[in-house]
């Protein structure tokens, strides 16, 4: 083991922040979406932030002779036949006519947590600052949502459609390492508000997004729904420090936002567990998912395929320390 000291050597292992805060969460808007809040406003959970259009389109209207692009415009009353009933976002004016970003029907974007509105950019997004803490993931599909957290599988579990029932309506489900697209579709149909999963493959992502598009295009629309992916595309057990946080949040109200991709907890009374010092997790290779204690650098080692990589010794349970590529390890904070 060649390293100046144990602590510096552990610095070579990538640090994964489990819980961060405070957070500035951003909600994307498209041209035609109408913000309902302004900078500096205080919002509570469930407050409407914006009206989102479903069937977005561009209309050509006479509009005002001079206005700033991005302004919300409503056709003046009494102009029968010309722009009657039109409203939307002014995009640009060409040949004395405005292109108007509009659509129908609108669906509300609700705040999944409380906070202060920091920035509103029509057609682009709005930002809310919150003192809430966030369990960080890597990706969120389908938008933002809020609900009571409920775990239905172990950290290495694989949930199938039959395991989700109507009792889960209104909750955000923790489903372990993997879930198939059919189960997500069923959860959506039963009124589940969100899914927290270790990994979600490309095929499942496409199916979720397609299902979401179909749902939003429907006459009645669907309540908010979001999938938070904690690890990546390949299914892996959820890391134990992450699972410990999820367990501590069981039964509590949480929100999912997509920028940053995270699970938000705005209850300051919840005590969230901190990871053990020296704990490392193997993220790839034959030991993927295993957790142990960092014992120090092992220097360059030869691994499968004749590849020589910098390695570290890791004690996994009662077994003697094994050499693991440094790049395949992560530690927690």
């Amino acid at each position: 083991m060649i390293a100046p000291d144990g602590l510096a050597a552990l610095d070579l292992v990538r640090l994964r922040t489990v819980v961060a805060g405070p957070i500035e969460a951003r909600f994307a808007l498209r041209p035609g979406d109408r913000p309902l809040v302004g900078p500096g406003e205080v919002v509570v959970r469930g407050a409407p932030l914006a009206d989102r259009i479903r069937e977005a389109r561009t209309d050509v209207v006479v509009g005002p002779p001079s206005a700033e692009p991005g302004t919300w415009w409503v056709a003046p009353a009494g102009r029968r036949g010309v722009d009657a009933g039109e409203e939307g976002e002014l995009l640009f004016r060409s040949e004395k006519r405005w292109r108007l970003g509009t659509g129908d029907p609108a669906e509300p974007l609700e705040a999944p947590f409380g906070g202060i509105v920091r920035e509103v950019i029509p057609g682009s997004g709005l930002t809310i600052q919150t003192p809430a803490r966030a369990l960080l993931g890597v990706d969120v599909l389908a938008g933002s949502s809020a609900g009571r957290l409920h775990r239905i599988a172990a950290r290495d579990g694989h949930v199938r459609a039959s395991e989700i029932d109507v009792g889960a309506a209104g909750t955000i489900l923790v489903v372990g390492s993997y879930i198939d697209a059919e189960a997500i579709t069923r959860a959506r149909a039963l009124g589940v508000r969100g899914i927290v999963v270790g990994g979600l493959g490309v095929k499942e992502r496409r199916e979720v997004l397609a299902s979401e598009r179909r749902g939003r295009a429907g006459v009645h629309g669907l309540p908010p729904f979001a999938v938070l992916v904690l690890e990546g595309a390949v299914g892996r057990p959820i890391a134990s420090p992450v699972m410990a946080v999820l367990d501590a949040l069981e039964g509590r109200m949480v929100g999912i936002v997509d920028e940053p991709a995270c699970l938000l907890v705005d209850d300051p009374d919840v005590e969230l567990p901190t990871p053990r010092a020296g704990l490392v997790r193997v993220t790839a290779g034959p030991l993927a998912g295993a957790e142990g204690t960092f014992e120090g650098l092992a220097g360059p080692h030869r691994f499968a395929g004749g590849i020589v990589l910098e390695a570290a010794f890791v004690s996994l349970g009662s077994r003697s320390a094994v050499a693991v590529p440094l790049g395949d390890l992560e530690r927690f904070a």
Binding site: I2, A8, R30, G32, R57, E95, G232, F303, G305, G306
Partner: protein
């Protein structure tokens, strides 16, 4: 009087990994003591401390001992190159054809390119694109004069650009061809537009053989601390030092590079041609089906499209993970696909004669076996000729390129030449073998023979069309290879007899008698079997 430092740290802070190299002055020369790479967020001082500790443990009598002690490490001078996050360019055009012309030029830059035209997007969708936070600039272009398919939408596009300029004071706007000075643009922009007026640029229409659009786009990304952008300067210095034509190919996290440089003639400065392209990234941020298929085409495993998509997505998300075993093969398949994309975008460089020296660089190759790197280059950057391959294993070339002064750059690179570039070996590629007699292709008859003279001894071997052979030739050794073919082949010229000097390396001498360009079976199972046959020679210690 201050003493000249006898230790130097060279840091290549990439977006995926950080590489730190420790140098010491021995006599009047800089020498490489060692290098270490780790995920990007790793503190550089930690990497340097570990390198210094290892160096002192290996040789306690190092002249730079005092400077390498833990307490003194912070004072070690550092030469650093840093990669910035990539930026997105939106190309707006009045027709699909015009959009394709513009994007073909934009793709040959480090911008990530998204194309929209009035035939494919409505004004609301185009506005949405321009308001996206990751979009750094928009190129709104048309022919000059505008084509009949463009004329109807020019004013709308100009007005849309003007409105975007008012809404986003940070957005760079480049007007090309007939879009320049258009009244609709000026009206939409209005008086006193927000932001810096220097963000509005004008370029001529895209024309074959002209690079005005590309030059402007590259200028917008110019960053003197970016190692990838400075690889061109290093390659020129290298060509000057070696007095050889040098080609450099690089595959990194966000982009890839291809540079061809020649030494100056009669005291003139060296010259070069270079392309840095975001298409050359190891894996793009959101790999689409074409990317997945491109990587599948170079794999010998049995992953289906979905599972390959999952693996590539994870490789993009955590590029330092899973670098051994199957992960190493996947990584190299992705790097090979990236090299193929770079080759497709740089056909004018590919049509030039093979360079005397080919340098392979970039984090994508950081952990690959040397022979597999050679095979990846031979598969993609191929033309008839002979080239000596070298590997920038410690990622020194980018940081060295950030040295502004050519003299200083030359001195440091001259000192480090042997340490910075690991010899991989020589590659001999012939073209058109078996074109006249198909029996040669099927391996039924001998296509020629090779006499390899090395250290006073000569060995002979038969050659067959389409074969790929790795012959052991130690690093540093020089030999002469004499080929005699039963029919004329392409080797710069058409000939049956070729005699070339070759040098050894970690992969030895590679005789590549496959087609130029490489033709692979269409059927996936046959293709895999052919690739597997070649890769067994390149992946030692692999039992599969």
């Amino acid at each position: 009087m201050t003493r000249a430092p006898s230790a130097l740290a060279i840091i290549d802070a990439g977006r995926a990994t950080t590489s730190v190299s420790l140098l010491t002055r021995i006599g009047d020369q800089w020498r490489l003591l060692g290098s270490l790479a780790a995920p990007a967020a790793t503190p550089e001082s930690t990497l340097l401390a570990i390198l210094a500790a290892r160096a002192l443990q290996a040789d306690p009598g190092l002249p730079a001992r005092a400077e390498l002690e833990p307490a003194a490490l912070d004072a070690v001078p550092r030469l650093t190159a840093r990669s910035r996050p990539p930026r997105t360019l939106v190309v707006l055009a009045a027709s699909r054809r015009a959009g394709a012309d513009l994007s073909a030029e934009a793709l040959r830059t480090a911008w990530r390119v998204e194309v929209a035209s009035t035939e494919t997007h409505d004004p609301r969708e185009m506005t949405e694109l321009l308001l996206r936070r990751d979009v750094g600039a928009v190129l709104i272009g048309a022919g000059d004069p505008a084509g009949p398919d463009e004329r109807a939408a020019l004013d709308d596009l100009a007005a849309l650009g003007g409105a975007a300029a008012r809404r986003r004071p940070d957005l760079g706007i480049i007007l090309g061809g007939a879009m320049r000075g258009r009244r609709a643009w000026l009206e939409a922009l209005g008086e006193n537009p927000p932001g810096d007026p220097a963000r509005f640029l004008e370029v001529p229409a895209v024309r074959r053989g002209e690079t005005a659009v590309r030059d402007v786009l590259e200028r917008l990304l110019d960053d003197p601390a970016d190692g990838r952008q400075r690889l061109r300067a290093t390659t020129e210095t290298l060509a000057d030092l070696l007095d050889r034509r040098v080609e450099l190919v690089e595959v990194g996290f966000d982009a890839g590079t291809r540079v061809v440089a020649e030494p100056g003639v009669a005291g003139a400065d060296p010259t070069s041609r270079a392309i840095v392209t975001a298409e050359g990234a190891l894996v793009p941020p959101d790999p689409d089906n074409a990317t997945v298929d491109g990587v599948l085409a170079w794999t010998t495993g049995s992953l289906d499209r979905h599972r390959m998509g999952d693996r590539l997505r994870d490789l993009r998300g955590r590029p330092w993970v899973d670098a051994a075993g199957d992960g190493a093969r996947l990584r190299l398949a992705a790097a090979t696909a990236a090299l193929a994309r770079i080759a497709a975008l740089t056909t004018e460089l590919g049509s030039e004669p093979m360079a005397d020296v080919t340098v392979v660089a970039g984090g994508a190759f950081a952990t690959a076996p040397p022979a597999a790197i050679v095979l990846a280059v031979a598969d993609t950057i191929r033309r008839p000729g002979v080239s000596q391959l070298a590997w920038d294993h410690a990622r020194l070339l980018g940081p060295i390129g950030t040295i502004e002064d050519p003299g200083e750059r030359r001195t440091l690179l001259g000192d480090l030449l042997r340490d910075a570039l690991v010899p991989l070996g020589s590659v001999v590629v012939t073209g058109s073998l078996g074109m006249r007699r198909r029996a040669l292709v099927r391996g039924r008859s001998r296509a020629g023979h090779l006499d390899l003279s090395f250290d006073g001894e000569s060995t002979s071997r038969e050659l067959r069309a389409g074969e790929l052979t790795f012959i052991d030739l130690l690093p540093g050794s020089q030999a002469e290879a004499r080929f005699e073919f039963s029919e004329a082949i392409r080797f710069g010229r058409r000939t049956r007899h070729v005699t070339v000097p070759v040098t050894g390396g970690l992969a030895g001498l590679v005789i590549d008698l496959r087609d130029v360009p490489l033709r692979l079976p269409e059927r996936r199972d046959r293709r895999r079997s052919v690739l597997a046959e070649w890769s067994t020679q390149a992946w030692p210690g692999d039992e599969r």
